[in-house]
C-alpha cells in the first residue's frame, strides 16, 4: 500500500477521516505510473481518489514547468465546482499547488494567462481538451503532463464527445508519452469496455479499482390520491403531492427530463407554494449567472428545492440534499441510480428518492426502475466509436497545431480506442474531405483547406481557418440558440417601442420561430410575452397572463432503456405484481384483461379496432419512441403498398398506433394482410433505405454531421438572416450529395448515426427478431384501455417539416371552407 505524504496524512487525521481503500489503491497506481479506472458510487470520495497521486507528487516545492494534471469534466458547472472542492483541501494541507479552470465560459484573458503560466492542475471540459491540443503551443504546454483524469467517464464515452476526447487523448499521448490516464465512473454494466477505452488501442486495458458499494437506496413511487393521467408528460396532477414532499425534506432535488417540463413544474410549484419556500430552477438554457446563483445558494443550504434537468445529473456535492424527486419516468436504471445518488452524499446512508410517474405507462416503468435499482442492475451502454465527423474535426484541429504527416497522424488516430479499427482508406477519405471536401469532382483544389507540401506534410492553407475551427468546435449541435432578453416597452409618439434589457437565457431558435409577437410562454419561471427579434436575439416582456402557451411537445428526450422495457413487459404479464401498483393503475390493467387481452412477456400484442370513420392498429413493442417511430414509418409504407390506406401514425415510448381508411381487422382475418409478414425483419432492407433517404430525420442527422465535420459553420445566433448572410441549407446539400455522390463520407457517417441514434435500427432489429412468431392479434370492436394513452397522443405531436403537400393543401382548404361559409 502506498504511503500518504505527511502533509496529506495529517489533513486526514485532523478531519478524523481514514483514507478509503480505493483512494489508496488509486494513489498506488498513480505513484507507479499506472493508469486505472475507478468505479465507485457517488459520495465515495472519487474525486479525491483521482487527485491523490497528483497532490502527493506536487506536495513539495517544485518548479512550474507546465501542466502536471488535466482533469476533464463533462459539465462546465462541474468543472467550477471541482476546482472549488479541490482548492479547499489543498489550502488546508498547505500544498504549493496552483489550480485553474478552463471552460467555454472562461474569458480570453484568463486563457491567455493559463498559456503563459500554466497551473499545476487544469480543470477543463472535453471540448477544451480538443482546443488545447489544437494549440500550436500544445507541445510546450503539455510536455510535463503526468496525469489525465476523466470524470464521469461512463457518461462521456457513449457520445460523440467521448469520441473526440479519445482522439485528443491520442494526441496527448504523443506529446507526453509518460502520461497516465485515470477514469472515474459510476457503476456500469461493463467496466471492461471502459478499461480498454482508457488504454492505447491494442495494449493491455488499464487496471480496475472498485470502491465499496453504498447503502441501497430507498425508492418510493408516488401514490397520489389524484387521478394518474392516461398520457402526456405534465405530472401536473401531482403538484400538491410534490409540494408536500418538499415541505418534509431538508432540501429536495426535483429532476425532470426536459427544460419545458422543468419550467412548467416550477411554475406549478410556485402557484402551490403557500409558505413561500425557497424553490429554485436550474436548466441548461438559463443564463450562466443565474445558474451560478442557484448553485451557490444550494451550497449554502439556502434552498428547499431545486427543479432541474440533467444539468444537475452529475456528481456535484452541493449542499445537504436529502431527497431526490424524479418527475416522469427515469427511462433507464443507470440514470435513476445516478440521480438518486445526488441525495445524501454520504456513502453509508441510504439515499432517499421518490418517483412521480406522469402517466399510467410510466407507473409501470417506475415500478420496473425500482425493481432494477433495488438489484443495483445497470443498463448496458456501449462506447461510441468511429465517427467520421469527429475525426474530420480532429484532423482540422491537428492542422491548427502545425503541419503533420498523414502516416504519423494515422498511426496516432488508430491508437485511440474509438478508431482502433479504422482502415487507411477511410482515414484518407476523411483527410481528403477536410482538405477539399472529398468530392469526385476536384473543383475545390484551389480552395483547399489543407495543402500537401513538398516535404509531404499537410499544412493549413490560411490562418483564418484556425479561427473557424475554434468557433465551430464540439459535437453538441443543438438547435441554434438565441439569447432571450427582458425588454422594456415605451410609448414613443403613440408607437410601442421595445428596448432590450438584461439577458434571461437562451432559447432554441426553432421554438422562437413558432412564436408570434404577443404569444406567451414560460421561461426562467415566469410567464413572458414574446416581443419579437432584434439583432441580438429575442425580446420578451413580463406579463400577468396566468396560462402561457407552452411548447406542445414535452416528451422525454431519453428513450426507455432496453433493460427497463423488458421489465415493464414482465410486470404487464404478471398480475401478481400489480398489487404493488397504485389501485387505479391496477384497475386499468384488469379492465384491459377483461376488455381485450394482456400479452405474455415474450409476446407483442397487436390490437385492431374501428373508431369514428377510421380503423386503428395499435401494437405494444415497449422499445422506446425512436425505434417505434421508425417502425411506424416502415409499417405505414407496407400498409400503403398492401392497400390498407394508412393515414398516419404516432409512436409513444410504449406503443405505436397507425390509423387507416381500410378495415384492418378484416384485412388480417381474411388473410389479405399477414401480421407475420407485416412485422417481418425484411422491412429493414429496401423499405428502410427508401424511407430514410427521404426522411426529415435523416436530413437532421446529416445537418449534425455536416456541422461537426466542418462542412458548414454553426450559425451565428441572434441574427435574422438577410439574403446575403444566408448559408446553404443542409437539406439542399444532402439532396445534392445523394444525387451526385451517394458514397460521400458524410452520407456514410450520417447513415451510421441515424442507424444507432435517431432511428434506433439496432433496437428495432432486435425487437423484430424477438417478436417473430410471438405476435398476439386481438381484433376489437372499440378502443381498448391499453390503447387509450397512445390515441391521446395523436394530435399532440408537433414537428416542423419541409413543404408537406398534404398539410399545405389542408391549410388552403380549411381557409377556403371558411371563406365559402362567410359568403
Amino acid at each position: 500500500m502506498a504511503e500518504l505524504h505527511p502533509k496529506i496524512a495529517e489533513w486526514f487525521r485532523r478531519r478524523g477521516w481514514q483514507p478509503r481503500d480505493h483512494q489508496l489503491a488509486m494513489l498506488a497506481h498513480g505513484l507507479a505510473d499506472g493508469s486505472a479506472l475507478l468505479i465507485a458510487p457517488t459520495g465515495g470520495g472519487k474525486t479525491l481518489a483521482g487527485f491523490l497521486s497528483t497532490l502527493q507528487e506536487l506536495a513539495e516545492l517544485h518548479p512550474h514547468n507546465g501542466i502536471h494534471t488535466l482533469y476533464v469534466s463533462p459539465l462546465k458547472a462541474l468543472a467550477v465546482d471541482i476546482a472549488r472542492n479541490l482548492e479547499q483541501p489543498v489550502l488546508e494541507m498547505g500544498l504549493p499547488i496552483t489550480i485553474e479552470t478552463r471552460t467555454g465560459d472562461t474569458p480570453a484573458s484568463r486563457r491567455q494567462r493559463i498559456r503563459v503560466s500554466p497551473p499545476d492542475i487544469l480543470i477543463t471540459t472535453p471540448e477544451q481538451m480538443s482546443l488545447i491540443v489544437a494549440d500550436p503551443h500544445a507541445a510546450h504546454l503539455l510536455r510535463e503532463l503526468k496525469t489525465v483524469i476523466i470524470d464521469e467517464l461512463h457518461s462521456i464515452v457513449t457520445s460523440k464527445r467521448g469520441v473526440l476526447l479519445s482522439l485528443a487523448l491520442s494526441r496527448i499521448r504523443t506529446l507526453a508519452p509518460q502520461v497516465k490516464t485515470f477514469g472515474l465512473s459510476a457503476t456500469v454494466a461493463d467496466p471492461d469496455a471502459l478499461c480498454h477505452w482508457l488504454a492505447p488501442a491494442h495494449t493491455k486495458p488499464v487496471s480496475l479499482v472498485l470502491g465499496r458499494p453504498g447503502a441501497p437506496a430507498q425508492i418510493r413511487i408516488l401514490e397520489s390520491a389524484e387521478r394518474v393521467p392516461w398520457s402526456g408528460h405534465s405530472s401536473r396532477y401531482a403538484t400538491a403531492d410534490i409540494y408536500e414532499e418538499i415541505k418534509r425534506a431538508r432540501m429536495a432535488l426535483v429532476f425532470v427530463n426536459t427544460r419545458s417540463q422543468a419550467e412548467m413544474l416550477f411554475q406549478d410549484l410556485w402557484t402551490a407554494n403557500e409558505e413561500s419556500l425557497p424553490i429554485a430552477l436550474h436548466h441548461g438554457s438559463l443564463d450562466v449567472g443565474q445558474r451560478r446563483k442557484v448553485e451557490a445558494a444550494m451550497a449554502e443550504n439556502k434552498l428547499r428545492a431545486v427543479v432541474c434537468t440533467s444539468t444537475l445529473d452529475l456528481g456535484i456535492d452541493w449542499g445537504d440534499v436529502d431527497l431526490v424527486i424524479h418527475v416522469g419516468a427515469p427511462k433507464g436504471s443507470s440514470r435513476l441510480l445516478q440521480r438518486i445518488g445526488r441525495a445524501n452524499h454520504r456513502l453509508d446512508e441510504a439515499s432517499n428518492a421518490l418517483l412521480v410517474p406522469s402517466n399510467r405507462f410510466e407507473v409501470l416503468e417506475c415500478e420496473a426502475a425500482v425493481e432494477a435499482a433495488s438489484e443495483n442492475a445497470q443498463d448496458t451502454q456501449y462506447p461510441s466509436v468511429m465517427k467520421f465527423d469527429c475525426l474530420a474535426q480532429h484532423v482540422m484541429g491537428r492542422a491548427c497545431a502545425g503541419p503533420f504527416h498523414a502516416d504519423e497522424l494515422f498511426a496516432e488516430v488508430t491508437s485511440a480506442f474509438t478508431f482502433r479499427n479504422i482502415s487507411r482508406e477511410k482515414f484518407d477519405r476523411v483527410l481528403d474531405f477536410v482538405a477539399t471536401g472529398g468530392y469526385a469532382l476536384k473543383s475545390y483544389a484551389r480552395y483547399a483547406k489543407l495543402k500537401q507540401q513538398e516535404d509531404g506534410t499537410w499544412r493549413m492553407s490560411h490562418p483564418r481557418l484556425a479561427q473557424n475551427y475554434r468557433m465551430n468546435i464540439g459535437t453538441i449541435v443543438e438547435d441554434p440558440m438565441l439569447k432571450l432578453r427582458l425588454a422594456r416597452v415605451r410609448k414613443v409618439l403613440g408607437r410601442r417601442m421595445v428596448m432590450g434589457g438584461f439577458v434571461l437565457g437562451e432559447l432554441e431558435e426553432y421554438f422562437l420561430s413558432q412564436l408570434a409577437v404577443g404569444d406567451t410562454f414560460l421561461f426562467a419561471g415566469q410567464v413572458l410575452r414574446f416581443e419579437g427579434l432584434d439583432e441580438f436575439g429575442a425580446l420578451a416582456t413580463r406579463t400577468t397572463a396566468r396560462d402561457p402557451m407552452i411548447p406542445s411537445y414535452a416528451g422525454g428526450k431519453f428513450p426507455l432503456s432496453t433493460y427497463l422495457a423488458e421489465r415493464v413487459r414482465g410486470i404487464l404479464a404478471s398480475p401478481e405484481k400489480w398489487k404493488r401498483l397504485p389501485a387505479q393503475v391496477g384497475e386499468w390493467l384488469s379492465t384491459q384483461r377483461w376488455a381485450s387481452v394482456l400479452p405474455r412477456a415474450d409476446q407483442m400484442l397487436v390490437e385492431t379496432f374501428p373508431r369514428a370513420d377510421k380503423y386503428y392498429l395499435v401494437c405494444y413493442p415497449f422499445e422506446g419512441r425512436l425505434a417505434q417511430q421508425t417502425l411506424g414509418m416502415l409499417l405505414t409504407r407496407r400498409l400503403e403498398r398492401w392497400g390498407a390506406k394508412p393515414m398516419g401514425f404516432v409512436a409513444s415510448e410504449y406503443a405505436l398506433v397507425v390509423w387507416m381508411l381500410s378495415d384492418i381487422s378484416l384485412l388480417i382475418q381474411s388473410g389479405c394482410i399477414s401480421l407475420a409478414k407485416l412485422f417481418d425483419e425484411d422491412m429493414l432492407g429496401d423499405d428502410l433505405e427508401a424511407w430514410l433517404a427521404e426522411s426529415n430525420l435523416m436530413k437532421r442527422t446529416f445537418r449534425n454531421v455536416a456541422v461537426i465535420a466542418g462542412l458548414i459553420e454553426r450559425r451565428a445566433p441572434g441574427k435574422e438572416k438577410t439574403v446575403r448572410q444566408q448559408t446553404v441549407n443542409t437539406d439542399l446539400i444532402y439532396d445534392a450529395l445523394r444525387t451526385h455522390q451517394p458514397d460521400h463520407i458524410l452520407l456514410e457517417a450520417a447513415w451510421d448515426d441515424a442507424a444507432e441514434g435517431l432511428i434506433d435500427i439496432h433496437r428495432l432489429g432486435a425487437m423484430l427478431k424477438r417478436i417473430k412468431n410471438h405476435i398476439l392479434h386481438q381484433p376489437l370492436d372499440r378502443v381498448s384501455p391499453l390503447a387509450v394513452p397512445v390515441l391521446l397522443d395523436i394530435g399532440r405531436e408537433s414537428i416542423s417539416g419541409d413543404a408537406d403537400d398534404a398539410l399545405l393543401a389542408e391549410a388552403a382548404e380549411t381557409l377556403e371552407r371558411e371563406a365559402t361559409r362567410l359568403v
Binding site: F433, G438, Y447, K721, H740, L815
Partner: protein
C-alpha cells in the same frame, strides 16, 4: 388545313407534371403559370422567367473554407433546361443574381459554359443585372439589361416603387413562407403577389428563403389582397399573405 397561328405552337400544359393549369397568377390582365421549381411561365409571351440562380454559389462558399458539394451549378442548369423543354418557351428572362459573384461566370467549367451557350442560342435570353452580378456575363450569349418592359409589365431584380398603372415582377428577396396546419409548421419557397407586383422565389439549387413576414417586405404588398403561392413537393398552394409567416 387550318391557317397557321402562333397560338397552336403553344404547348398544352394540362398533363405536364410541374406546371399546374389549375393555378395561374393574374397580373395586369395577363395569366402566368407558376412552376414547382420556382420558374414562372407567361404563355401569351412564350416567356419563361426565373430569378436568383446564384450560379457558382458553391465556389463562393468554398473560397471561405466551406466545401459544400460542387454540384449546384449543374443542378440549377439542368433544372432550367428541363423547364425550358417543358414550357417550350421562346424567351428566357433571368431576373438577376444569375451568378453568385460578379466574376463567377469566369470560373464556370467547360460543361456548364456549353450548356449555357446552348440555351442562349436556342431561346432569346435576357440577363437582367442583379446586385450579385451587376455586369453582364461575357461570352455566354444573350443580352444584358438592367430592366425589361414587356407589355404592361416591368421586370427587374430589386423590388422598387411601382408607378400607378404599372406592374412589376422582381426577385432579390428569395421569398419563403410557413404555415401551421394540425400543429405542424411547414416551410416552403413561394411567389408573393398582389395586384401591383410579384416577387419570384429563388431558383438556384442552394438558395434559401427569407420569410415573407420579415421586415424586408415592409411596404411592398397590399396586405388584404396579397397572396403567396407556396411550392410544395408536388403541388403549388395558394394562401393569403395574411395567413402565413
Amino acid at each position: 388545313m387550318m391557317p397557321f397561328s402562333p397560338k397552336q405552337l403553344k404547348p398544352s400544359n394540362a398533363r405536364r407534371p410541374g406546371l399546374s393549369r389549375e393555378i395561374t397568377i393574374r397580373l395586369a390582365g395577363a395569366s402566368f403559370v407558376p412552376h414547382l421549381s420556382g420558374g414562372l411561365y407567361w404563355p401569351e409571351e412564350q416567356t419563361l422567367v426565373v430569378s436568383d440562380l446564384h450560379l457558382e454559389q458553391g465556389v463562393s462558399l468554398a473560397r471561405r473554407g466551406l466545401h459544400v458539394p460542387p454540384f449546384d451549378t449543374r443542378t440549377t442548369l439542368s433544372e432550367l433546361k428541363n423547364l425550358l423543354a417543358e414550357t417550350a418557351a421562346k424567351r428566357l428572362v433571368l431576373l438577376g443574381d444569375s451568378f453568385h459573384a460578379p466574376d463567377a461566370h469566369a470560373g464556370l467549367d467547360e460543361e456548364s459554359c456549353i450548356e449555357l451557350r446552348a440555351v442562349t442560342s436556342t431561346v432569346e435570353t435576357i440577363w437582367i443585372c442583379g446586385n450579385h452580378d451587376p455586369d453582364p456575363p461575357e461570352g455566354l450569349g444573350g443580352e444584358a439589361v438592367t430592366e425589361l418592359t414587356l407589355g404592361p409589365i416591368v421586370l427587374r431584380h430589386i423590388p422598387s416603387p411601382v408607378p400607378h398603372g404599372c406592374v412589376e415582377i422582381s426577385g432579390h428577396l428569395h421569398p419563403g413562407a410557413s404555415v401551421v396546419s394540425r400543429g405542424r409548421r411547414t416551410h416552403a419557397k413561394c411567389f408573393v403577389t398582389d395586384q401591383r407586383r410579384l416577387i419570384m422565389p429563388a431558383f438556384g439549387a442552394y438558395t434559401g428563403a427569407l420569410s415573407v413576414s420579415s421586415r424586408a417586405y415592409d411596404g411592398l404588398f397590399d396586405e388584404p389582397e396579397a397572396q403567396v403561392f407556396m411550392l410544395g413537393r408536388s403541388a403549388i398552394h395558394r394562401l393569403p399573405l395574411s395567413r402565413v409567416r
